[in-house]
């Protein structure tokens, strides 16, 4: 096999990478097999634990790109590289919080549609305060906000609505009314970024409630139907609007 010459990972951060590109990592990540030699020179040598995120795969000396997108890097905590790609179809990943729609009740287990290739299963005991006698009141067609506890390509995904300490912390059945719609996964990640301008600007408009699922689904509820629809339209459109266009649109709305 002809070995391709890769390029240094640091040089490509923030640039478009295509599948098949090989990224070389700095030398101190390549020491292995014989034992870890402690570098007394210290300096900026990180702990050696590099996180290889979505869109990248380990291959020999470096990382192989498997999705096209922008390469991102996070220096803190040992360093992390990942590819910021755009897609609409969700693949269940363990630990992700998603919105699911109940499609069937099969005995003790609910089947939820999360937008993946298979329906996820959710046991009735996975709610806060649920016991065999005290079952949660879940009907077909309800919306549920939960996280994945098992999600790999070999097994059916499983969800729970409690976290590791047994508390629901916001997960569970999402209430009545409101509006559910689907956007691309990249927009969800943009909205969930720590200081998202879109969310901050929207929060100035009217009181509303928002639930974002990592599977591309967003649920919005505001006081009146018209306000709900306005928020829905802004969220759907803001993916393709620039910041100025968005501000203009919001200014028009708050003027009305």
């Amino acid at each position: 096999m002809a070995a391709e010459r890769g390029t240094a990972a640091e040089a490509l951060v923030g640039q478009v990478v295509l599948p098949g590109d090989l990224l070389l990592l700095p030398a101190h990540y390549d020491e292995d097999a014989e034992g870890e030699r402690l570098r007394l020179s210290g300096g900026t040598a990180p702990q050696g634990r590099l996180l290889c995120g979505p869109g990248l795969r380990r291959s020999g000396a470096g990382l192989l790109v498997t999705k096209c997108g922008l390469l991102r890097h996070r220096p803190g905590g040992g360093g992390a590289y990942w590819v910021d790609s755009q897609q609409k179809r969700y693949v269940p990943v363990k630990g992700d919080h998603v919105i699911g729609i109940v499609t069937a009740k099969a005995g003790d287990v609910f089947r939820l549609d999360v937008g993946g290739s298979e329906p996820a299963s959710l046991s009735y005991l996975a709610f806060e305060g649920a016991t065999k006698r005290n079952r949660p009141n879940v009907q077909v067609g309800d919306l549920i906000y939960g996280q994945f506890v098992v999600a790999n390509k070999d097994m059916e995904p499983e969800m729970v609505c409690i976290d590791s300490s047994g508390k629901s912390s916001g997960m569970g059945i999402i209430g009545q009314d409101g509006f559910l719609f689907k956007v691309s996964l990249g927009l969800i990640r943009k909205l969930l970024a720590p200081k998202c301008e879109i969310i901050q600007e929207l929060s100035q408009l009217y009181p509303f409630e928002l639930v974002l699922g990592m599977n591309g689904r967003i649920w919005v509820k505001a006081k009146t139907v018209q306000q709900t629809l306005i928020i829905v339209n802004i969220l759907e459109a803001c993916e393709y609007m620039t910041a100025e266009q968005r501000k203009q649109a919001l200014a028009k709305l708050s003027g009305n």
Partner: protein
């Protein structure tokens, strides 16, 4: 060297919690928002604010030292307990677990007897 493969964006980027409420629409979720988002930033500070214990650490250590011995005695065999009784002054007539060796048998262990053909 360790390169960990991760398929979730949650570990790479610093994403906030997905459930939000604004301008007091849902007060419980607003409380949750503050709690969740401050958890990420102030994890270290939370660990320092431990509740003051009623019993100090030293007392706990001393108590556990003697506790281990007391509970350990419960599970000793009869023979060893008799030995211990002679050493100790207080006599605990505790019934030990399972051991129903008749007194006259002097065997410490039950040996495996080969079947006699």
């Amino acid at each position: 060297s360790c390169i960990i493969e991760e398929r979730s964006f949650l570990r790479c980027e610093d994403l906030v919690y997905g459930r939000m409420s604004f301008k007091g629409f849902n007060p419980e979720i607003e409380k949750l928002m503050i709690q969740m988002n401050s958890k990420c930033k102030e994890e270290k500070i939370e660990e320092d604010d431990k509740m003051e214990a009623d019993v100090s650490d030293e007392e706990m250590a001393r108590r556990y030292e003697t506790l281990v011995g007391t509970i350990g005695k419960k599970f000793l065999r009869k023979r060893d307990q008799r030995v211990l009784k002679n050493d100790d002054e207080d006599e605990d007539d505790e019934v030990e677990e399972g051991n129903s060796n008749p007194r006259p048998s002097k065997r410490a262990k039950k040996m495996f007897l080969k079947p006699q053909d």
